[in-house]
Amino acid sequence: MPTRIEAGQGRAGVMRAGRMRKAGASKAGALLAGLLLAGVAGPALAGKADDTLVYASDSEPENLSPYHNNLREGVILARNVWDTLLYRDPATGQHQPMLATAWTWVDPVTLDLTIRDGVTFHNGDALTPEDVAFTFNYVLTPEAKIVTKGNVDWMKSTEVTGPHSVRIHLKAPFPAALEYLAGPTPILPAAYFKKVGLDGFSKAPVGTGPYRIVSVESGKAVKMVRNDKYWPGSPIGKAKIGKLEFRIIPDGDSRMAELMTGGVDWIWRVPTDQAEQLKRDPTLTVVSAETMRVGFLQFDVQGRAAENSPLKDVRVRQAIAHAIDRKAMVDNLVRGGSRMMNAVCFIDQFGCTEEGVPAYAYDPAKARALLKEAGYANGFDIDLSAYRERDYAEAVIGYLRAVGIRAKLNYLRYAAFRDALRAGKTSIGYQTWGSFSINDVSAFTGIYFRGGEEDLARDPAVIADLQAGDTSTDPAVRKAKYAEALKRIAAQAYALPMFSYPSNYAFTADLTFTAQTDEVPRFFAATWKK
């Protein structure tokens, strides 16, 4: 008998020695459990009962100023909190007056706009032409350090020409200008912005839009209330729902769990597998809509990430293009109305065409042959960065592996991902781009191939074609120039377009919500069902 007791003591001794680490291990357990159960524990503040629409998404804009992030979540906030000079009717594509009541082209490089009277910012300041001029001139200064240069660098300067009018001078003719004035160029309050600076503005943003931001909790949530003094006559009208809250929940499963338990009312980017299952839940509505977002692999063509980067060789890039079965990915992984793309743009955008653009069929044998020809018969190791839809990136890695290219995945937050690509610190980027919902190829191909920060190829011929296309006033010339550029990009395989991204939206059945193809949820138009 004494031996047994002794054994017990011995064991307890070991346990005692390990207590510290047991605590560590259980902490890991708690962390895992927390991840899984986050949904169950969430406070139930959402829903029709308290007139609060809580929407959740994965990423947080690095800065809430609409010019200082290029993330979709930022675009959503921009469209719900700020107004633009013009409004583009998503149904007809026509431009309607918004903060500008009228506009005229004096000549191809001069645009006159009349600014609406009686509009006030959320802080009570009246909107004046000075606000417009300040916004556009400020964002063009290098000190502003905006991250959406591609959206504004067609402007040269903006001047106030009267108590209600401004004049925008363009650097060169830019036929797509109105598209940009109706999208990614919200008007900021000059006096307030100058007073609080960018940091202050990011913490307490002020706009003229249908919702007013009341609190910003970094990494967690942005809370908004309806702007009850929203100017009458706006094409989008006053918001219907009283309170709006943007919740940042990076983990997709937690978002879904939150939705199913009523912690949030609206989520999107639900993987098709799960969307199909969610449809069975009668308390939820699930809709799927194609968006303008297109995924593409961006290659470190100039070999900045590695001196002897295999990607400098066009045959290697073509081999990668042949190695990936995009059609199988569209049919089995993405689904929901996704379309395979062969040109680096969204096919419905003005100027985007696949005519004459070389397409790369799935052909692993050819891919291997091309690699061999390029001197990589045994393949090579490379890094691939991605920031969303990890499954797609892993599928790409799987296809590359099958032809001998051993890619390692770096899964990053968007800002880190974008900066790594811009700085030439990663070899392959799994990019996606929603064009800021601008229906013009300059907002896609232009951003990534016109020689800007995002351009990893910097091919002078492509840059010249894109510039010619952007600045021509003749639609036929524009189309021809863009087609030239797209052809060369594809022939050189500077990037590999993948497919368009449908988005699966899932939201409470109490909500009436219409998804638009431009990937901008218009929460101001959403209503509760009676």
């Binding site: 004494p2 031996t3 002794e6 011995g10 499963d253 099958a402």
Partner: protein, 310 residues
């Protein structure tokens, strides 16, 4: 020369009446074997671990498919016992259409590799420190105890997470981080065991014969604290395997497409609600391995302890 410490932490009372009931004529190995065969936990643990080790070693021979070969048109096929399952994929396929059984088989290599290497690295560090502290005592002991206390003050998971996110997760990083973090139990146990052994007569005899400290440590002390070491090593192995799974689950451990069980659990998480087998299968495998290692370690401890407990 077969005096062994009574227990890893060795606050043992000297009384060991069980010795008297053992048949006196048998060799120590025969005694250990006899005890092992009648020790249920040991047998189960040895069975599980032996099976998984065999599977890991024979992975290229027994895996029905290439664990990396994906076919997105055959994704998320349920296991064979499911109505929609197919014999071709006994455990079904994952989200990219890779054979789940093959990934599980190759995943055992990674789990065992990490468990063994982490236990080896941490065992080497911890044992060296512990033996030195226990044998020399005094200042050496004070310094080692200070280092151990410092190490104990660091939360393992947090440090491992921070390291992995700084350096970037990979198999090598995980092994090194865990190896350099899990040595404290080795140090504590070997220190106590060494303290006990060093005052034994045979150590004094060795000293009197003029042997140097290296020889005494290697030939007199180490063999006599070995069974305590084995027990700690199994515990640490299981611990390292669990930590690797946790790190991989959080995306900072082994990187895809390597088939780590922790990573498979992480990837299965999004299917938890509707395709629960995706997360259950690697979860059960991990549970079995850790359970097996712990049972084995417990059994070894019981068997090799001189009092003959079962």
């Amino acid at each position: 020369m077969t005096i062994r410490p009574a227990s890893p932490l060795a606050q043992a009372p000297a009384s060991a009446p069980a010795e008297t009931v053992l048949p006196p004529a048998r060799s120590p190995a025969a005694i250990a074997l006899r005890r092992g065969l009648s020790h249920g936990g040991f047998l189960i643990g040895a069975g599980i671990v032996g099976f998984i080790v065999l599977v890991a070693l024979a992975a290229p021979l027994i895996a029905p498919h290439d664990p990396y070969a994906q076919d997105v048109s055959r994704r998320l096929i349920p296991p064979v016992w499911h109505a929609k399952g197919s014999v071709e994929h006994l455990l079904g396929t994952d989200k990219l259409g890779r054979d789940y059984l093959s990934r599980l088989i190759y995943g055992s290599q990674i789990s065992l590799l990490i468990g063994l290497s982490a236990a080896l690295i941490s065992g080497a560090i911890g044992t060296t420190l512990g033996v030195l502290a226990g044998y020399y005592g005094g200042r050496v002991d004070a310094v080692v105890s200070y280092v151990v206390t410092t190490r104990l003050a660091m939360p393992v998971v947090l440090v491992a997470l921070a390291m992995a996110s700084l350096v970037g997760g990979s198999l090598k990083v995980v092994v090194l981080v865990l190896g350099f973090l899990l040595w404290d139990r080795f140090a504590v146990v070997t220190r106590a065991a060494t303290r006990q052994v060093r005052s034994q007569d045979f150590v004094a005899a060795a000293k009197a014969s003029g042997f140097g400290p290296v020889r005494i440590l290697a030939q007199e002390i180490l063999p006599n604290i070995l069974n305590a070491l084995i027990v700690v090593a199994t515990l640490e192995m299981a611990h390292a395997i669990l930590l690797e799974a946790a790190l991989s689950f959080l995306g900072l451990g082994v990187q895809p497409p390597l088939p780590s069980w922790g990573l498979m659990i992480a990837e299965g998480k999004q299917y938890m609600l509707f395709q629960p087998w995706v997360i259950t299968i690697p979860g059960v495998a991990l549970l079995m391995l850790v359970l097996g290692i712990n049972l084995l370690g417990d059994g070894v401890r019981d068997i090799t302890a001189p009092e003959g407990r079962h």
